[in-house]
């Protein structure tokens, strides 16, 4: 698109990763004269918006400078030796697989910072909040940008600590227990993953992902690959989360502040599936092939299980919590992503990557909306909200209600919106899986997963029915409709959801060549 000098691109990518970290350090210092703002709180929140905004701009410029004719090639690469004794290198780069995730992360974090500027969650000092948010951003972006296994692990872990504190300090009820569960569960998964990464690195003699991907598992025996896939896969599956390793997610989402939920669902879960695509598929293909049918089976169970759990929560009198419901819906949606990856076909993996982005946009929006609903009504409990007939949000706050219905419809995978293409391609991939996978098994998985979309539609529309529709009491006070800052924070998500739905090539054009390359034998 735009021709940008290679060294500038390198700088941009490095800035995206390191910038937020520097910003976090700066947030802890007192504000310099001239930037003090109205109060220290306001100054530091503004600092957060500025830094995330700068990172977002850098990400956009990086996208513009990205050579869209060669999305399968690693671009903006930096490769510096870091720990020579272990041959660990600071190796950064981006291709068509990671670029959309980088932009999504930068965008969502910026929107979260913007939202918190106007609507700071109640809790301790905003200074720590902003610093943690920036550390979180840095860790996530690093996960998507690094090309070294150990560095990947470090970045993967770096995200946990800020998230823990965001939940434990700024969360709602039962935040301590939820935060503990979150960190212990994911740490346990990561330990196993580290062992797998070390195994791969030591057996093949390098931690460099590109070298390993080009090698395509030739220097690893099948048994090593199987063990490595099992270990790494468990770590990634906890993060994704795959059924039955999901039970930390509903608790964490229910307790987390709005911004935390948005980032958790929108960005953090993607790190797990990204790991599947970036590490397991190209580096240990034989081992992955052994486990692919099982992964697909678990994914399908997750789809049905998540939907049924949502239906149980949406039922009248079930005391269902809306945030919890959306968390379970994430389990279902990530099931489609995993199913797509498990097919080991370009179609399926493309679908998985698309569904990743779509889920980030749509579920992020849903969590924003539910957070706004909680601010207005003080509850996310469906029974309390809906009373007898429904909360009549269409009547009390038409725009909010309409937007909630839009998000619900997008989430159920309506064609023409972002949610559809990912699910469709994942199913299409499962219809015709890679050659040495069992076709009948995958056909069964596909059929079951396809009926999962029906269940998804059912619970989403029940939620719309109970929250948006209903008889509004004559003299009930209306709720505040969408405020300007909310409008600003949500519009990009809505616009991108529609855009990705109508013009899927914007994403698939990037991922497809990279995925083809990846499955055929690594990145160049």
């Amino acid at each position: 698109m735009v021709d940008i000098n290679e060294s500038v691109m390198q700088f941009l990518l490095a800035f995206i990763v390191v910038g937020p970290l520097l910003g976090a350090a700066a947030a802890l210092l007192p504000a310099p004269p001239g930037l003090k703002g109205k109060s220290p709180e306001q100054a530091v929140l503004r600092h957060g918006v500025t830094v995330t905004g700068a990172v977002l701009i850098a990400a956009i410029v990086l996208t513009l400078g990205f050579d869209h004719d060669q999305p399968s090639k690693m671009q903006a690469t930096t490769d510096i030796s870091w720990i020579p004794a272990l041959d660990v290198r600071v190796h950064l780069g981006t291709d068509g697989i990671s670029l959309p995730l980088l932009v999504l992360t930068a965008l969502l974090t910026f929107l979260c910072a913007l939202y918190s500027y106007f609507k700071m969650p109640s809790g301790p000092t905003p200074k720590a909040f902003v610093a943690l948010l920036l550390v979180l951003e840095s860790g996530t972006l690093a996960t998507f940008a690094v090309l070294d296994l150990l560095l990947f692990f470090l970045a993967f872990e770096m995200v946990l600590i800020p998230m823990y504190f965001l939940i434990a300090r700024w969360g709602g009820e039962e935040r301590q227990a939820a935060a503990w569960k979150f960190i212990l569960y994911t740490l346990l998964g990561s330990v196993v993953m580290l062992l797998g990464l070390l195994l791969v690195g030591l057996k093949s003699g390098t931690f460099d992902m590109m070298a390993l991907a080009t090698d395509n598992g030739r220097s690893l025996t099948t048994s090593v690959q199987v063990i490595a896939v099992l270990a790494i896969g468990i770590g990634l599956a906890v993060k994704t989360p795959m059924w039955p390793l999901h039970s930390w997610l509903p608790d964490a989402h229910t307790a987390a502040p709005t911004v935390g939920s948005v980032l958790l669902a929108g960005v953090l879960l993607k790190m797990g599936t990204y790991g599947f695509v970036r590490i397991l598929l190209p580096i240990t293909p034989d081992g992955f092939r052994t486990f692919a049918p099982y992964l697909a089976a678990f994914a399908v169970v997750g789809i049905i299980y998540g939907s049924l759990a949502c239906l149980a929560l949406a039922k009248q009198g079930a005391k269902g919590d809306l945030k919890r419901l959306i968390a379970y819906s994430s389990v279902g949606h990530m099931g489609f992503v995993l199913l797509g990856i498990a097919t080991m076909t370009p179609t399926g993996v493309n679908g998985a990557l698309f569904a990743n982005i779509a889920h980030g946009l749509i579920t992020g929006l849903l969590f924003f909306l539910v957070g706004a609903l909680k601010d207005r009504t003080g509850t996310t409990d469906l029974d309390t909200l809906a009373e007898k007939t429904g909360a009549a949000l269409y009547g009390k706050a038409p725009r909010l209600g309409g937007l909630l219905a839009f998000a619900a419809v997008a989430s159920l995978g309506l064609p023409g919106l972002a949610g559809f293409w990912g699910e469709m391609l994942a199913l299409f991939g499962a219809f015709d899986p890679a050659d040495d996978l069992s076709r009948p098994a995958f056909l069964t998985f596909m059929a079951i997963a396809a009926f999962g979309t029906l269940l998804t539609a059912a619970y989403m529309l029940i939620v719309v029915r109970r929250v948006c529709m209903g008889v509004a009491p004559q003299n009930s006070p209306g709720l505040a409709d969408i405020q300007t800052y909310e409008f600003a924070a949500w519009t990009p998500l809505v616009a991108l959801t529609v855009l990705a739905g109508l013009w899927p090539k914007a994403l698939l054009g990037l991922t497809d060549p990279a995925v083809q390359q990846l499955l055929a034998g690594g990145t160049r």
Binding site: A309, T389, L425, M469
Partner: protein
């Protein structure tokens, strides 16, 4: 402009209108009405132009890649043959009429902007389905229609009927769409493309591996969308939406999309005679069952809904005997007269303040209050009952003729059994159709009792539209000679045998119903009934919402009323009870789908709490248990510690001794 550009603009204009309407709806209310009406009218004009240019010749084909997928690419393709061109014109006509009608119907409704935008979006999606040459893009339009239907059925979301019906409408059609999607995958995997042209080429060269399976999978989606047995149950309930929506979506266009889809892919279905037989049986059951149910309904719109299901059954019947020309001919004529029936019913509901036929039959002079609706509805009912020379006669005769053609073994590759099934069911349904059309007309316009309320004249926008639609209902039959040029070339003129038979049974049905009505109408005075809207001065939309909401409280049911003066009750006898509730199909669905899913949900809730989470909590419990055990040793008594120390020392010493001595 080239035909391609024009064709692209046809679906694009309403889409832009919808987007603009949604954005400007609240900020600039003055623009809402023009933004709703103008794009539809413009796109109608363009659709006519496209149809004229295409002229039934070689199909217009154009494509550009929408997206790569890693295997079969998805293309943004146009495929306009005679069928597509004419159906698009129908969609444009009905959509424009409905948009104009709605400006009067929902004149005071604060939700009009979003309503109009959704109708525009629907129009755009329907036109996309009609023109699309790529199955995946077709599916996009197909599902967007579904969601628009969902939102519009739920327009009166204060009423429990609308809330339930909108959900049901979407889920039942989605139940069909799941196999439909799988069927599309199978087609694309065999053909290597989602393009309809390529798929048809593959079929022609016998490249499909499992044509029966694919056809049946696709049939499920069609049954859902076109409300065919057994997935038709959503359509009668969908009448809880505003009448113009029912006219556009649930009568003229969206429900016809399934029929249109089969017509497009007929070779796929024709490749399997089993699929054709299934299609024929489905059509027969749908036709006869829905006509019986229509005879027992009390809500005027539900009568029309069941009649729509039955007429769609005729179309699928025509497809089952392999004559898509007849199917699309009936689709076009039915689209016009059924839209007219619904719009006229909307006027009547507004004037009478109720949607109940039982209540209308106790009102004198309703026809004098709404003369335009009275005359146009009479025309449309005659067309529905297939009385010559109205349009319905010609199209229905085309269907029956095709069935007779197949039954007598003149059609190649079509099982004769399919022809007989469709022919017999079609004749039975013709009888029943005339009967319920007669019943509706008698109950609505020949009532006795109190004077009908007078609200002055209906808005011009509403009345004018009725007369516009009355023209094709009257005169569409004249095109019988021209249409084959646009279609496959099959002759569509009525044959003598079926015409005499069909018209004969229709007359019998009408006369018998008239006799029954004469017999029962005397009872009407004895049983007073009546539930009318609370705000008769409101706009038609408000009156209708109140009429819908008050039906169940007043009569105990949304579908029927305990009215002994109803001729349908006499005609159906013991069947009436079952026909009124649609032959208990909802109960079957509840037992087959709803309850198992609910049980599954409860099970998952239990599993998640007690099994999956139990392991997680259990993993935390083990370290805690160990910790507790270690803490027990901390007694606070120094002497205990020293004793333990001593014991340890002794053990270690003994061990060291044993090791040292090598024992």
């Amino acid at each position: 402009m080239t035909t391609t550009t024009l064709a692209v603009l046809v679906p694009l204009l309403p889409f832009l209108g919808a987007a603009a309407g949604l954005f400007l709806g609240r900020t600039a209310p003055g623009f809402v009405r023009p933004l709703a009406v103008l794009p539809s009218v413009l796109s109608l004009a363009l659709a006519v132009l496209v149809a004229v240019r295409q002229g039934g010749d070689q199909a217009v084909d154009a494509a550009t890649e929408l997206t790569p997928t890693g295997s079969v690419p998805i293309e943004l393709a146009l495929h306009i043959d005679g069928f597509a061109a004419l159906v698009a014109v129908l969609v444009g006509v009905v959509a424009s009429c409905v948009q104009i009608y709605s400006t009067g119907y929902l004149r005071d409704d604060p939700r009009y902007p979003s309503y109009a935008a959704l109708v525009s979006l629907f129009t755009s999606a329907m036109l996309l389905v009609v023109y699309s040459g790529d199955l995946m893009v077709l599916l996009v339009g197909w599902e967007i229609m579904g969601i628009c239907s969902y939102f519009l059925v739920g327009h009166y979301w204060e009423t429990p009927e609308a809330r339930a019906a909108s959900l049901k409408a979407f889920l039942v059609t989605k139940l069909g769409d799941v196999p439909f999607l799988i069927g599309l995958f199978a087609l694309a995997a065999d053909a290597g493309s989602f393009r309809i042209r390529t798929v048809l080429g593959t079929v022609a060269s016998g490249g499909l591996d499992h044509p029966t399976l694919i056809a049946l999978l696709l049939l499920a989606g069609v049954a859902g969308k076109s409300a065919q047995f057994p997935l038709h149950t959503w359509l009668p309930d969908a009448m809880a939406g505003p009448t113009p929506v029912s006219a556009l979506i649930h009568a003229a266009t969206m429900v016809a999309a399934g029929v249109y889809f089969i017509a497009r892919l007929l070779p796929v279905f024709a490749a399997s005679s089993a699929a054709l037989l299934v299609l024929a049986v489905m059509a027969a059951v749908t036709m006869a069952g829905s006509a019986l149910a229509a005879l027992a309904q009390d809500d005027i719109k539900r009568v029309l809904a069941y009649s729509t299901i039955g007429q769609l059954g005729y179309m699928t019947g025509a497809l089952a005997v392999g004559d898509r020309g007849a199917a699309v001919f009936h689709l076009l004529s039915h689209g016009a007269f059924k839209a007219l029936l619904f719009l006229a019913a909307g006027v009547i509901i507004h004037a009478a303040g109720t949607n109940s036929l039982a209540t209308m039959s106790r009102m004198k002079d309703l026809r004098a209050r709404v003369p335009d609706a009275y005359w146009t509805m009479t025309v449309a009912l005659l067309a529905l009952a297939a009385i010559p020379p109205f349009s319905g006669f010609f199209s229905k005769e085309a269907v029956l003729g095709a069935a007779e053609h197949a039954a007598t073994g003149h059609a190649e590759d079509i099982p004769g059994a399919a022809g007989w099934i469709v022919l017999v069911a079609g004749l039975v349904t013709a009888l029943l159709t005339a009967a319920y059309a007669m019943r509706l007309w008698l109950l609505a316009f020949r009532g006795h009792g109190a004077e009908a309320p007078d609200h002055g004249r209906q808005p011009l926008a509403m009345n004018a539209v009725l007369w516009v639609l009355a023209v094709p209902s009257l005169a569409f039959g004249l095109t019988t000679g021209l249409l084959p040029d646009w279609f496959d070339g099959h002759d569509l003129t009525p044959t003598l045998a079926t015409s005499v038979l069909g018209t004969g049974v229709a007359l019998v049905g009408g006369i018998v119903t008239y006799g029954a009505w004469r017999h029962t109408t005397a009872l009407a005075a004895r049983v007073p009934l009546g539930a009318v809207a609370a705000h008769p001065e409101g706009d038609a939309g408000l009156v209708e919402a109140e009429a819908i909401a008050s039906h169940a409280p007043a009569y105990g049911d949304v579908a029927s009323a305990p009215d002994p003066a109803d001729p349908g009750r006499l005609l159906l006898g013991p069947l009436h009870r079952h026909a009124a509730v649609g032959f208990h199909l909802d109960a079957v669905y509840a037992a087959l789908f709803v309850r198992p899913v609910q049980a599954g949900a409860t099970l998952v809730r239990f599993l998640d709490r007690e099994v999956v989470d139990a392991y997680v909590r259990g993993a935390g419990a083990l370290p805690r248990l160990l910790g507790a055990a270690v803490r027990r040793a901390q007694t606070g008594n120094v002497q205990t510690y020293v004793s333990a120390l001593l014991a340890g020392t002794v053990v270690l010493a003994v061990a060291a001794l044993l090791v040292a001595t090598g024992a």
